[in-house]
């Protein structure tokens, strides 16, 4: 049975924890709004880019001279997994879910006899994958110092990845990130970025015949590296929104749990105080009776 003093201390400490989680929840909510806006504003670019690329890829894709970024190296022996996670913890299952998906993917590839290489973005995912795949890491991108993810960050990652591709370090690259659906649900997603795959869009858009200047292949060669950067950028933004969403609901839960805990502790505190008073009374009365 803890003493009254102990109980009081515990109540106080849980109360201050609740204050912290509440504050974190509100900060996450504000950041989430910003992250969502950023994701929204990048959408027109991504959509149009993909539409143009789909058209181009369809017209050039069949030929032998198609760039390697589009047609692949003809092998899928060496696989690069780009695992994007957050730099900070306390965001529920966010990082764990991404790491779990990446781990399952890596194990399946290894089972098929493929060589796996891992590039991590964000230190939380790195920490989680280190034990199982530490020797497969080929690089790490640190975004701790980055307050707001910009296109330049995505370009930096893309440059690194493309450099590795050019030197033949890998054949297929897949990015792992979390798609933002809403505050309570983020879906860990795997997306292949090299060789590029663009979804054909049905409709009149695809049937328009464009003049290309310079020719189609030159444009494609110019745009494919940008496409990689664009996909990484939109994944980073989705991930940013997901992280804040996950943190917000995790902190909401924590705040509620702390509230419950405070209620329980307060009841226990009151009971033991009452017990102490009753005890003292009994002692006094029995002392008086004995006289």
């Amino acid at each position: 049975m803890p003493s009254l003093k102990d109980l009081k201390n515990r109540i106080e400490s849980v109360k201050s924890t609740r204050k912290i989680t509440k504050a974190m929840q509100m900060v996450a909510a504000a950041k989430l709004r910003r992250a969502q806006e950023a994701a929204e504003q990048s959408r027109p670019y991504t959509e149009r880019f993909n539409a143009v690329m789909a058209g181009l890829a369809a017209s050039v894709g069949g030929s032998d001279s198609a760039p390697k970024l589009l047609s692949g190296t003809g092998s899928d022996q060496v696989q690069l997994l780009i695992v994007m996670t957050s730099e900070r913890g306390l965001c529920g299952g966010f990082n764990t879910n991404i790491a779990k998906l990446a781990r399952a993917h890596a194990q399946r590839l290894q089972g098929d006899g493929k060589e796996v290489k891992i590039l991590t973005v964000g230190k939380k995912g790195r920490d989680q994958l280190k034990r199982d795949f530490g020797d497969l890491f080929v690089g790490h991108v640190d975004l701790t110092e980055v307050k707001r993810v910009g296109y330049a960050d995505a370009q930096g990652i893309a440059k690194d990845v493309l450099g590795r591709f050019d030197t033949g370090e890998f054949d297929v690259a897949t990015i792992f990130y979390s798609k933002f659906v809403n505050v309570v649900s983020q879906i860990p997603t795997a997306q292949q970025i090299i060789p590029a795959s663009f979804e054909e869009q049905e409709g009149d858009e695809a049937s328009t015949l464009f003049d290309y200047e310079p020719d189609e292949e030159a444009i494609l060669a110019d745009l494919l590296p940008r496409g990689v950067a664009t996909q990484i950028f939109s994944a980073l933004l989705e991930n940013g929104a997901s992280e804040q969403g996950a943190r917000m609901s995790a902190m909401d839960n924590a705040t509620r749990n702390a509230g419950e805990m405070i209620d329980n502790l307060t009841i226990e505190f009151n009971r033991s105080r009452q017990a102490v008073i009753t005890n003292e009374l009994i002692e006094i009365i029995s002392g008086a009776e004995a006289l």
Binding site: A38, S42, Y45, R48, F210, E213, P214, D222, A229
Partner: protein
């Protein structure tokens, strides 16, 4: 009054401009072109340069560094990697861009010693970047 056409200027981070315009001057990789309403559907890559739009509300100018433009029946979309309204470009911005291009040229020189193609491209990029400086009056 000439016909107007929908014009969108988007960068990866946001939609910069969306307006009805009568003509757009695009710094295409193979040369500048002016697109007006009912232009033939065209896709072109951009070189660093000045993008000028003319519309009922006056003209506006942007410095773009690369990307591509899509001219279709629906309108003109310019997807620029970086686009800044001309008035907002500072000398420091321009110097940073030129420096970046210079570094790219150096890298290309070391990476492609026996291939003139990429080196020439990088040199052209640098020349274009420098030329942008003539447009901005700082």
């Amino acid at each position: 009054m000439a016909d107007t056409v929908q014009f969108d200027l988007v960068s990866p981070e946001r939609l910069l401009a969306s307006a009805q315009v009568t003509a757009v001057q695009i710094p295409g990789a193979d040369g500048d072109m002016t697109a007006m309403a009912d232009h033939a559907p065209t896709i072109t890559t951009l070189r660093p340069g000045l993008l000028v739009t003319e519309g009922p509300d006056g003209t506006s100018e942007y410095v773009v560094t690369g990307g591509f433009a899509e001219i279709s029946a629906r309108g003109i979309s310019v997807l620029a990697e970086r686009a800044i309204p001309k008035g907002d470009v500072t000398k420091a911005d321009h110097e940073a861009m030129v420096k970046e291009a210079e570094e790219a040229l150096e890298n290309a020189k070391t990476a492609f010693e026996n291939e003139p193609g990429p080196v020439d491209d990088a040199a052209k990029l640098l020349a274009d970047m420098v030329a942008v400086g003539d447009h901005i009056t700082v």
